[in-house]
Symmetry: C2
Subunit: 329 residues, 2 copies
């Protein structure tokens, strides 16, 4: 939309987004660092930087210092990670193991709503046992990206009372690791799921009921991502909704969810504010980052954008839902 | 959600919704008045009040005087319309023709997203030729509910330069009456479509592109209804989005779109304000009315609710998307 959602009357509000500064807390992410090959109706990319940890870090690094724990194989083109390091992402926890790297090959059809996985090669990722470096254990914000819930629990045994722990998961773990996932729910503050996963996990079709089912098992916040249909954040006291940005072209949806999580946690770490208002803003910042991620292959767009681009898009989200103030004077 | 979306801090803003008052403009609707038989996972209803004109009028009558043009058969239980007349709905344009009434029988499966039509009996509706009574021709607001575009055009030949003309349509007409529908686009100010219909009409998958395609053909506003995923309003200058209210139970989705339109046009008629802000608020009021409609069979819930219920739900929509003011102080 660009120009079109800027109007009506742009207002000069306090910016929501701040460049990374010294007051920002550190964010630890444990997730995959992979090589993706993707086909979309608009083109294809081969062996590009992928993985939940990569997308999350690329996104969160706009707001806070990020530490990554993961594993790559001996064949991984580590020079591809240089742009992340240049952004201050600490890769001291990225293990390099003998063997091949995690590779994913997928295809999106014209509607771009769901990926068709053509090939998954776990490689060294199949033996991954996260070891959190001593200097990472005090990170106040922890994101457990989509990996085996057993490993997510192992991470929690190694960290030192973080201020906020969030996790993601997927259909595969909901089916194969249900008891561990339920245990995990009791130990995290927040979980992000897409609408299909939340229905699978809770066996409830209605999202309000499904969210309550999860809240009853531990997390204080449940974020339900609906892709092009936006995202809900449920707590016991309130529900918040942020639409997806109406993009003119979704180029490659890969990594949108992890980029969302990176913007979300990044915003919280940059403000150190866990109030309801701050969490709501974090959802919007996350939505903005997700919308950037899908504009190009891999993390390309996430690394191109700057503070002004992010702030502009957040303002566009403001205008997108405004029907009261600032329009109401 | 009720209690939960009321928090955080409710603010004492000017109410958006006003009871019908003398300053409200009149709304003319031309549409179907039918008998519906519906099965949902929660129960069934037989031969209840249905039809686009009925839902629209039930909803709009909370905001403005409503005039209905339509046709029923000689078998229609007209006493069922008494509650509408009691609400001030003018049925002088509701023709009673020899023959059977329009009947629809449908079923919703567990996900409630799409109706399965089991039976459609047009009856007298198949020969419907709208005749706008003299005293209805000056109505400033006109809603052409989902009927044959040829008839929608005939209505426009009979009205006297309304302030705003809006229309609805459906897949059947998009396929069978495309030239007439395109002609209609050149003569209306606003069209409401669901996302499937808009893609069918424009042959564009991306909603931003699809909306622009329609704007290029006449309407100044395009409203795209996405059911449980909310609604977009596109103009040349801006885009607005209102989520659907996160109901704990959708009882019967029939009529949600026409109830939305009734709230939307009703709000505009009650304020006589066609500014961008007023149009945005109208989308929210429409969404609120759609959310009430689906809570019970037929127009039952629409007739039960009062001004306070509507205002309360509109405030809940405010809280649902708030991430700036009023929370930002």
């Amino acid at each position: 939309m660009n120009s079109s959602v800027n109007t009506p009357e742009q207002h000069a509000d306090t910016p929501l987004v701040h460049p990374v500064h010294k007051a920002a807390s550190t964010v630890l992410v444990v997730g995959s660092v992979a090589l993706d090959s993707v086909e979309t109706p608009f083109g294809r990319a081969d062996e590009v930087l992928g993985g939940s940890g990569t997308y999350f870090a690329s996104s969160a690094s706009h707001f806070a210092p990020v530490q990554v724990v993961g594993v790559v194989g001996s064949d991984y083109p580590v020079d591809k990670l240089a742009p992340l390091e240049k952004r201050g992402v600490d890769l001291a926890g990225l293990e390099r193991a003998e063997g091949t790297s995690f590779r994913w090959r997928g295809r999106y059809r014209h509607d771009l709503n769901s990926a068709e996985t053509l090939e998954t090669h776990l490689g060294v990722f199949s033996h991954f046992a996260p070891k959190i470096p001593e200097q990472f254990r005090k990170a106040p914000f922890v994101f457990l990206a989509n990996i085996d819930p057993r490993l997510q629990l192992q991470v929690l045994d190694q960290v030192d009372s973080p201020k906020l722990v969030a996790c993601d998961t997927m259909n595969f773990w909901i089916e194969s690791r249900r008891p561990e996932l339920i245990e995990l729910l009791g130990r995290v503050d927040l979980i992000t799921l897409n609408d299909g996963e939340v229905r699978q996990l809770t066996e409830k079709a209605n999202l309000v009921h499904a969210a309550r089912w999860i809240l009853d098992r531990g997390p204080k916040h449940v974020i339900i991502k609906k892709g092009e249909h936006g995202a809900f954040m449920f707590t016991r006291e309130s529900v918040f909704f942020a639409p997806a940005y109406p993009l003119e072209q979704v180029f490659d949806p890969t990594g949108a969810g992890d980029s969302f999580a990176g913007g979300f946690i990044g915003h919280l770490a940059s403000t150190n504010d866990l109030s309801d208002l701050s969490m709501r803003r974090a959802v919007v910042v996350g939505s903005a980052m997700g919308s950037f991620a899908v504009e190009k292959f891999s993390n390309t767009r996430l690394l191109e954008i700057g503070h002004d681009d992010i702030e502009r898009r957040v303002q566009e989200f403001r205008q997108l839902v405004a029907f009261d103030s600032p329009l109401n004077t």
